[in-house]
């Protein structure tokens, strides 16, 4: 019994350590390709599990995945700050599966930058 517990503990530590050294990306988003998009909000959902923007930039319309509403509210980014028609800049990573989606790391609205992660 004691040796089973010791083995499980040791393999857990080893596994975590190997993941920590191997980890580069960020799930389904390509962290190697940082996008900075400035555009106009066409639609917004301030909804769980995470908010989204439909952001029109010259030549393309993006779906921008934001943070959970509770976090955005907490960090001083209420729904009212993200009304349609507002110009914003988002910095984030493109989705590997949906070429029109990106996940925002931070968003700048009128000189106020909010970290979303």
């Amino acid at each position: 019994m004691r040796s089973i517990v010791a083995t499980l503990c040791a393999s857990g530590i080893l596994l975590t350590a190997s993941i920590a050294t191997a980890h580069h990306g960020w799930g389904n988003y390509d962290a190697a390709q940082v996008l900075t998009l400035t555009g106009t909000i066409r639609a917004m959902t301030y909804a769980n599990p995470h908010g989204t923007l439909t952001l029109e930039v010259p030549g393309k319309t993006w779906t921008v995945t934001l943070a959970p509403p509770f976090r955005m509210q907490n960090r001083g980014l209420p729904a009212e700050a993200l009304k349609a028609g507002t110009t914003v800049t988002v910095v984030g990573y493109p989705s590997r599966s949906d070429p029109s989606e990106m996940r925002a790391e931070r968003i700048t609205v009128e000189n106020q930058t909010t970290e979303l992660r």
């Binding site: 799930g27 389904n28 959902t45 301030y46 909804a47 769980n48 779906t63 959970p68 509770f70």
Partner: protein, 162 residues
């Protein structure tokens, strides 16, 4: 909310008042999420202790007494896990219906439920006689239960990554 289609019933669920409240309220969705995690932790913990006992660990613990403690705890936890899970499901029903890991999780839970029914209709009735050596059928059920619930919880956590 994800874009893209889905079956009619899933789209209808997503338009329900409950789903809208969950998406729009700042605290409802996180609350459901926290309760779901606590319930799942309690469920898996109590089930694992019982299954491991049936499989032969901790022979000093009376298996029928353990069943009277662990199984009601598991059942109560399930009663919290299911409604909180449904709440999070309806908030984005079409996206979940498209998610292969979510479907895997539901499949695993369905098989685990059948396993529970079989265990209750058979081996559990003879639990008083498990003391020395639980019958082979009981041990098979316990092993299946442990594997199914571990896999279901793992799949549940992985939904967000697919």
């Amino acid at each position: 909310m994800e874009h893209g289609g889905g079956p009619h019933w899933a789209l209808a669920l997503e338009q329900s008042a409950l789903a809208q409240a969950l998406r729009e309220s700042l605290f409802l969705y996180p609350l459901a999420n926290v309760l779901h995690v606590l319930a799942v932790a309690t469920l898996l913990g109590s089930i694992a202790v019982f299954d491991l006992r049936v499989l032969g660990l901790g022979r000093g613990v009376a298996v029928d007494a353990l069943a009277r403690l662990a199984l009601p705890i598991a059942a109560s936890a399930l009663c919290v896990a299911v409604p909180t899970g449904i709440a999070m499901f309806v908030a984005e029903a079409p996206a979940y219906v498209r998610n292969p890991v979510f479907l895997t999780k539901i499949g695993l839970i369905a098989v685990a439920a059948v396993n529970i029914a079989v265990f209750h209709s058979g081996p559990l009735r003879e639990i008083k006689h498990f003391a020395k050596e639980p019958p082979r059928l009981a041990r098979a059920g316990a092993a299946a239960s442990l594997g199914l619930w571990l896999a279901a919880v793992a799949a549940g956590r992985l939904i967000a990554y697919y």
